[in-house]
Symmetry: C2
Subunit: 172 residues, 2 copies
Amino acid sequence: MLQDEPRYGYQLKTEFESATGGVWPLNVGQVYTTLDRLERDGFVSMEVGDDEQKLYTITVKGVGELGDWWEAVPADDPPPRDELMLKVLMAIEHGPEHALGVLTRQRSALTSLLQIRRRERTPLDRSPDSSPPTGEALAARLVTDALIVRAEADLRWLEVCEARITAGAGPR
Amino acid sequence: MLQDEPRYGYQLKTEFESATGGVWPLNVGQVYTTLDRLERDGFVSMEVGDDEQKLYTITVKGVGELGDWWEAVPADDPPPRDELMLKVLMAIEHGPEHALGVLTRQRSALTSLLQIRRRERTPLDRSPDSSPPTGEALAARLVTDALIVRAEADLRWLEVCEARITAGAGPR
DNA sequence: CGACACATGTAACACGTTACATGATTTG
DNA sequence: CAAATCATGTAACGTGTTACATGTGTCG
């Protein structure tokens, strides 16, 4: 956001929340601690205006870092410790029976969660001439879409796991 | 793991790594700090054997907590702060042109990453009578599967984002 | 005999996060 | 005038993570 133009701390909070469709509430305090740390590392600089309020500006170093961030694809080596994966792997370690129990429970929980999310997904593109969503509505919609797509992926993965486990444990 | 039977700290490290197919290396030090914290919270208890070595046992309280964990589906409210989502939403905030650039770059990066992973996926189920993978091999395979499925989901999502943005910015 | 696995820990840091405290300005 | 919004911060905590230090046993 600072790349756009300098901002106040509080402003960053409100704009962040509107940019993310209100799904990610942000404690203001965290904005200030983060800004302090960014300043410590030389990524932003701060100046106090006549009104005692603090304007934060991104530095050259900060712009460079940001450029890298825009390009970077979220790292994967080692793969991020994911709770679901961990849970399934540990369940397997615990024995196939236990693993199957955990898997089916996770699967049914995820299925109903998915249905809820599909229903929650704002159905705003009914008529063909309705204007596409913008701003906060768009952001909220995209987040929901992402959560749905990810849940579907997890579900598919759980099915793969079940298949592999029954294949390994059943007919042997 | 402790639910199975009491273990040494070092043992937890090695077993964790083998249970996760070697994809998640674990600093031993972390095992001990974590065990200390678990003991502090009353989830495990420790006793020193005659050989000066420390055996960690799960407590009743710990078993209860673990039971909850097995059942729980990874929380989602508010949705986890995800780097990719954040990046896309911030790119949109920055303007459609910038967003499209970021999106296509992310998409191509993810596509090639996906191809690499698909190739890396150990093709061990060639012959129909080969025994299914077990232990470490199974774990490693499942992790790869998960990463692939998730990457596919991210890719689909990126396409949805592109569609919505071009629909919102192009013909308007 | 030297390297490696086994085994245990400590100190320190960064980061995300929250609870709390304070004051100015705007608006119903 | 009271409540909400704007605006700024601090102290503290928990956790993930690493670097470092130390010692025993075993095996080629």
